[in-house]
Symmetry: D2
C-alpha cells in the first residue's frame, strides 16, 4: 500500500491526538498506533499499563488485536507515535506480533509528536525472525 506524504502527515496528526488516551499511570510514557488493514479499515490503539507491569499492553498490539476482532487478516500500514525526540520504535514483542499479521508489503511508519517520521518494514525491524512455519 502506498501513502503519499499528505496522507502520512494526516494520519500522524490523528494519532498524536490519540496519545492523550493512553493509560500510563506508571510510566507516564504514552504511545499510540494506527493500523490500516487489508480491507482498508482503520484501527487504533494506545498503550495500557497495569499495576503488575508484565500485564501492560503496548499501543501496537492493542491496535492489532482490535483489528483482528474486526476481521483484519493483514496489516497494510502500521503507524506508531510517542513523545520521544526521535521517531519511536516498537519493542521486540510488538515486532513479533506484527510478524504474525504482515507480509512483504506491510509498511511500518515510526514517528513522534514533532511529526518526524521514518518508513520501515518488518524485515528491517525483525530480521531472521521466528514464526508459525517454525513450529
Amino acid at each position: 500500500m502506498t501513502l503519499n506524504e499528505k496522507e502520512i502527515l494526516d494520519y500522524i496528526d490523528e494519532i498524536n491526538l490519540l496519545l492523550e488516551k493512553a493509560y500510563v499511570p506508571y510510566s507516564k510514557f504514552p504511545v499510540a498506533a494506527l493500523l490500516i488493514d487489508n480491507n482498508g479499515k482503520k484501527h487504533k490503539g494506545v498503550n495500557v499499563e497495569n499495576a503488575s507491569f508484565g500485564l501492560t499492553l503496548c499501543a501496537e498490539r492493542n491496535a492489532i488485536t482490535t483489528a483482528v476482532t474486526e476481521n483484519m487478516k493483514k496489516i497494510k500500514v502500521l503507524i506508531v507515535t510517542g513523545k520521544t525526540p526521535e521517531p519511536i520504535s516498537p519493542c521486540g514483542a510488538c515486532r513479533q506480533v506484527i510478524r504474525e499479521f504482515s507480509d512483504k508489503d506491510t509498511v511500518i511508519i515510526l514517528t513522534n509528536k514533532d511529526k518526524k517520521y521514518k518508513i520501515t518494514s518488518l524485515e528491517e525491524l525483525l530480521p531472521y525472525s521466528f514464526g508459525a512455519e517454525d513450529l
Copy 2:
C-alpha cells in the same frame, strides 16, 4: 449496572457469533468477550494467538484495551464466552487487568456456546488482590 435476563441472553448471542473471529491457529480454542463501559458503550474482543505463545492476548484483555483506546474509565459489565461445556472462566492475567478498570459494581458474566451463564464479580474471582495502591 443491572441487566435483565433478556439483555444478558441477547449479549450472549452476540458474542457467541464473535467466536468465529478469534485467531486461534495454535490452540483451536476460541474465546470472545463483550464489555459495556461507564459511558454505556460496547466493546468487543477475541483471543489473538501468536507463534511465540507468550505473546497471545486473551479475549477479555483485547476488549478492555480496545475500550481504553475509546475512552473507557470503568468496566460496567464484562461477558466472556467459549466453546467449553461449562461457562468459561477468565485466566488470572485477565482477572488482574479487569482489576485495573473495575470497581465494586462491575458485573462479570461467564458463559458458553450453550448460553449457560454464571454472574460473578472481581472480588469473587481475584480475592486478596494486588493493585496500584500496593506500589
Copy 3:
C-alpha cells in the same frame, strides 16, 4: 508439606535478603520468591523489569520457571515477599502460573519485610480457575 514456624521464619529471612537482587529500575518495587519443589529442592526468583513494561517477569514466575528447568513437577511451598506494609499478594498472572504446577497440597505463604505472614492456597487465591482440562 508442613513447615513449622521456625522454618517459615528462616525462609522469610532468606528471601527478604533476596529483595536486593530484584531488577526494578522502573518501579523501584522489589519482590522476591522462594519455592520448594516436589523433590525438596529450593528455587528462588526476583522480579525482572523491562523498558517495555509488558515484558516484565514477576518474582513468583521467575522462581517457578527456574524450578521447571531443574526438574520441578509440583510446587510444595511458594513464599513471596515485598516491601509492602502487609503481606504481598501475587498478581493474577502469577496465580495462573502457580495453578499450572500446583495441587490441593500446595502451600502459598505471603509475607513482607517485617516478617508478617499469611498462609493461603491456590484455591483461595484463584477460585473457579481456568486450566489445561478446559482446553
Copy 4:
C-alpha cells in the same frame, strides 16, 4: 567474550540435553537456552507453557531471569536451541529482554538438535531498538 569451536559445541551438547526438561504440553515444541554471565557463571532455561497461552515463558527469558536472581548484570553469551531443521531464532519478546541485559560484546548463538549453529548479535537481531534511554 570469545569461545572457540570446541567450547561452543560442548555447550550445544549441554543444552540439547536440556530440551527434554521443557514444559511444552500444548505446543510440543521444546526450546532450551544457556547463558554465560559477566561473572563467568552459567545459567539455563527451558520454555515453560501455560494453559493460558499468553503466560508462556520462552527459554531465553527463563535463563535471563534466573541469571538476574543470581546476580547477573550483563549477558556475555546466550545460546539457544530447538528441534528445528535450521538454527532456532529468538522471538521478538526475547530479543527485547536480551536488550535489557546486553552490550556490544554480547554474543548470541542460534543452534539446533543437529548442532548447526549461527553466531549473531543483538544489533543484528533487533536493529533500531527501543530501550530504557527512550523512556
